[in-house]
């Protein structure tokens, strides 16, 4: 049983994007329902934060080797870059954030009881984007992205699922030690 709401929501969705272009992918899943029923969690990859520009929220776009056989590099980089752009938008210090800050201060920050901050609005957008990406791109390849907010904004966790029916299921355990002991 899977713990992720995205999977549960996807139970209700109808046919998703078929993996027509994935002829060379090791495991193919046509939608998340199939993923849920026939897959077991094999491994997790954690995309770390990129601190080169300071403490603003950015994630590294370096393509992890564990995903090499699962997804195209460009798709992955696109996802991470879009996420980075969203976070940059949320943390932008400019006219709007000053206005919000001054207005909030003058009301002793009580205004946040009724109003959503800009950051929270962007976080909702991010959650929607991640769900969309999972549905369209990652689930058909047997992957699942977890929203970074659930990991304390430290990492983007990508879960890799193996097809339970195939002989790969027992290699799930060896892939943990094998892939990382390089």
């Amino acid at each position: 049983m899977c713990h992720c709401v995205p999977l549960k929501r996807f139970q209700r969705t109808q046919g998703l994007v078929p993996t027509a272009a994935d002829g060379n992918m090791a495991t193919e899943f046509h939608n998340l329902q199939e993923l849920r029923h026939s897959a077991s969690l094999a491994n997790k990859v954690f995309i770390q934060r990129d601190y080169s520009e300071g403490t603003t929220c950015r994630f590294q776009t370096k393509f992890p080797s564990e995903l090499e056989s699962r997804i195209e590099r460009t798709l992955f980089e696109d996802t991470v870059k879009t996420l980075n752009n969203y976070y940059a938008e949320a943390e932008k210090i400019g006219g709007q954030s000053y206005l919000e800050g001054c207005l909030a201060c003058s009301t002793a920050y009580l205004i946040f009881l009724c109003m959503e901050t800009r950051y929270e609005k962007v976080l909702k957008k991010i959650a929607k984007y991640i769900q969309e990406q999972n549905e369209k791109i990652y689930a058909p390849r047997g992957l699942l992205i977890t929203d970074p907010i659930e990991r304390g904004m430290r990492v983007i966790e990508i879960s890799i699922y193996e097809d339970r029916g195939s002989s790969d299921s027992s290699s799930g355990s060896s892939s943990v030690s094998g892939s990382t002991a390089r």
């Binding site: 969690l41 210090i93 002793a108 946040f112 977890t146 929203d147 907010i149 304390g152 430290r154 355990s173």
Partner: protein, 382 residues
């Protein structure tokens, strides 16, 4: 199978206390916070009771009105600072901790037995300066830049400034501006009351009517409290204004991270006082990454999943609180009810992570996202 819905704050590690069903988050020792409240409320009550009637009549009614507004602002800022999440970083879940451990071991290579492994430090380059990120053994993470572990609250806090006993909480990224506004407005309030105290005493001393002995003594007490508060609070406000203009934290100032010739220059400063102030005080209000009020299921046997609504930012509603797949060595962070279930899960499941060396002593973190794989593995095992 007894299932119980609990809020996530009940299972958070660390030494915080929570009130109002997770809405309020404070440190464990709150005695000094109550003292702060008592001093502020007490002094202001005396001011309103004994001096404002006279001042309103003889000077202006605006005086007590402005004092009341300022007083309310001070209390609001104090409560906001004390009750909010300072920017606590949640501890790493077991898989993340294991992943990091493996990266560290891969980086260290083979350490001969008997020799101490090198310290766990990661170097990152920020604005062309090398900053060292330290590994936190309690939280099992490499601390982000400017984060520090508060030993009183037993949490890593982002942009850690200091732990303030007067507000009964840590001061970090999320509540620094409230703390600063609190000290600033308290300074103004103290100066205000002090000034009008003096005016009141002077006015009473020289006019026709006599001042009752009791009232005069009360005035003097207020003056005394204000005098001492003034120096400490105004001094503190001045110090924090200095820190903000340089975009430094108290922690960095005390450790001397950016001072000295051999040290790195502060890579976070914009080299412009106005920009630094704007970033700290008018920057975005960061959301809490601790989902305190989310719901999770807790039971002591095989997993059952269900979707429980949690706060907007969490899309993982439910999982076992206490299940992990790695063979764990319980430590002091283990919640008591986790121990029997660890034994159960270790016996019944064939966790894929058995090959993980026991070196990572990962605590069975009571976080709801703990282990989908535990559930999946269990399904596989049955």
């Amino acid at each position: 199978m007894i299932t119980r819905k609990v809020r996530k704050w009940e299972k958070l590690p660390g030494k915080n206390t929570f009130c109002c069903d997770g809405r309020v988050m404070m440190a464990r020792q709150k005695g000094v916070f109550y003292l702060t409240l008592f001093l502020i409320v007490g002094t202001c009550s005396l001011f309103f009771a004994f001096e404002c009637p006279y001042l309103a009549v003889h000077l202006s009614p605006a005086i007590p009105v402005f004092a009341a507004l300022l007083f309310l602002f001070v209390i609001a800022m104090l409560l906001r600072t004390s009750f909010s999440d300072p920017g606590v970083l949640p501890r790493a879940l077991p898989e993340e901790a294991t992943f990091i451990e493996m990266e560290i071991e891969a980086a260290n290579g083979n350490v001969p037995t008997g020799q101490r492994p090198p310290p766990r430090i990661r170097n990152v380059q920020i604005n062309n300066q090398i900053v060292k990120l330290k590994y936190c053994y309690t939280c099992k993470i490499f601390r982000p830049p400017r984060a520090s572990h508060c030993s009183i609250c037993d949490n890593c806090v982002d942009r850690f400034d200091h732990h303030c006993p007067w507000v009964g909480n840590c001061v970090g990224k999320r509540n620094y501006r409230f703390f600063y506004m609190f000290t600033l407005s308290l300074s103004l309030l103290t100066i205000y009351i002090f000034t009008f105290d003096i005016i009141h005493v002077v006015m009473r001393k020289y006019p026709v009517s006599h001042l009752s002995n009791q009232k005069e003594q009360t005035c003097r007490r207020i003056v005394l409290v204000c005098f001492f508060t003034l120096w400490s609070v105004v001094g503190l406000t001045g110090f924090h204004t200095y820190l903000i203009s340089l975009n430094q934290t108290t922690n960095e100032d005390i450790k001397g991270s950016w001072s000295g010739k051999n040290r790195v220059q502060n890579p976070y400063s914009h080299k412009n006082i106005i920009k630094n102030c704007c970033e700290v005080l008018c920057g975005p209000v960061y959301p809490s990454v601790l989902d305190r009020r989310g719901l999770m299921q807790e039971d002591s046997s095989v997993s059952a999943t269900s979707a429980a609504p949690s706060s907007f930012s969490s899309s993982n509603p439910v999982s076992q609180t206490t299940k992990t797949t790695a063979p764990l060595i319980p430590n002091e962070h283990t919640p008591d009810d986790a121990k029997p279930s660890i034994a159960a899960s270790a016996e019944t499941s064939a966790p894929p992570k058995d090959e993980v060396p026991p070196a990572p002593k990962v605590p069975p973190l009571a976080s709801p996202e703990t282990d989908a794989e535990a559930s999946i593995v269990k399904d596989k095992a049955h």
